[in-house]
Symmetry: C2
Subunit: 159 residues, 2 copies
DNA sequence: ATTCGTGCAAAATCTTTGCATTCGA
DNA sequence: TCGAATGCAAAGATTTTGCACGAAT
């Protein structure tokens, strides 16, 4: 039925089957399915700093020849987020965005409320600040998100 | 039809009519209606750091004897946000929250993903950081929101 | 052989919108 | 007066869910 897309990107070989994420899924009693493999692959091949909405992810899945349903896309996004593998982002657009969580490359976002474009910037300091502040209130910090809303130069000119 | 609730909180007198926010509304060609007055009043009487969802705001409006519709609540929240009077908050709960924007009392949020409770903390430094970083990318910064997601002490014990 | 995951369609949420009416300036 | 705001109900958009079937362990 659905072709696990063995011709593009890395083929799904023994290497893939021992992927730490897959192990982690099995350890939790979840299963490694072609759909989950492909979704993970898509996020891993996304340029650093890029993020996808559920619809966008679904679009990419279809493009790659998979017939994953939108429902499964939503279910998988939720699962991977709950496992701490994805970061759920909210840009005040009415729908969420997701990106691979990479603790070694922390970044935050600047959002233009004029054109909805987003810009990433790295800042280790903010990362640490999140940890410190959380600790002060006895929180186990999972993620710290710093969002800066404003109007970009482009939009300022246009108006 | 709807009682502008003149018996609770500050009565709507000459004082209210010269409220800078009302002037600002009129200046933009908008009108000062009983509904908008009440909504602003509710936000102003909210304890510092508290926020409301559209549904919650609507509930409070009904409690105060007003028959404002939910649609108007949404429309007013949007209007006041676009005027920079309210801050739109997103706690990854599927709906937005709003609070009065008070530049003199900047605060950020820690959200427990276990029980959805939120905790406010003040931090002028983060405020400045938002301005600086925005400026670096030529943005007119409107708001900077720092969200820390984690598990609170309570939830950690419960589990 | 179980039990979990998936697809599909329906439902649930949250938010926006068209239209006739009411109201503020 | 006249255009803006409101209420209502309907429509949109996003996300979740029940159920039968297929797939992973």
């Amino acid at each position: 039925m659905n072709n696990p897309n063995s011709e593009k990107l890395e083929p799904l070989n023994a290497d893939e089957l021992s992927d730490p994420v897959f192990d982690s899924l099995r350890k939790r009693g979840h299963r490694v399915t072609a759909q989950r493999e492909l979704i993970l692959q898509i996020f891993r091949n996304l340029p650093h700093g890029q993020h996808l909405s559920a619809e966008e992810l679904h679009g990419q899945l279809l493009e790659r020849g998979s017939s994953v349903s939108l429902a499964t896309a939503y279910r998988t996004l939720k699962l991977l987020t709950s496992m701490g593998l994805l970061r759920e982002l909210d840009f005040a657009e009415g729908h969420k965005h997701y990106e691979l969580k990479q603790d070694d490359l922390p970044h935050q976002h600047i959002i233009c409320t004029g054109c909805n474009s987003t810009l990433e910037f790295e800042d280790h300091f903010l990362e640490e600040a999140g940890q410190k502040i959380g600790a002060r209130y006895n929180f186990d910090v999972v993620d710290a998100q710093f969002k800066i809303f404003g109007i970009c130069q482009q939009c300022r000119k246009t108006r």
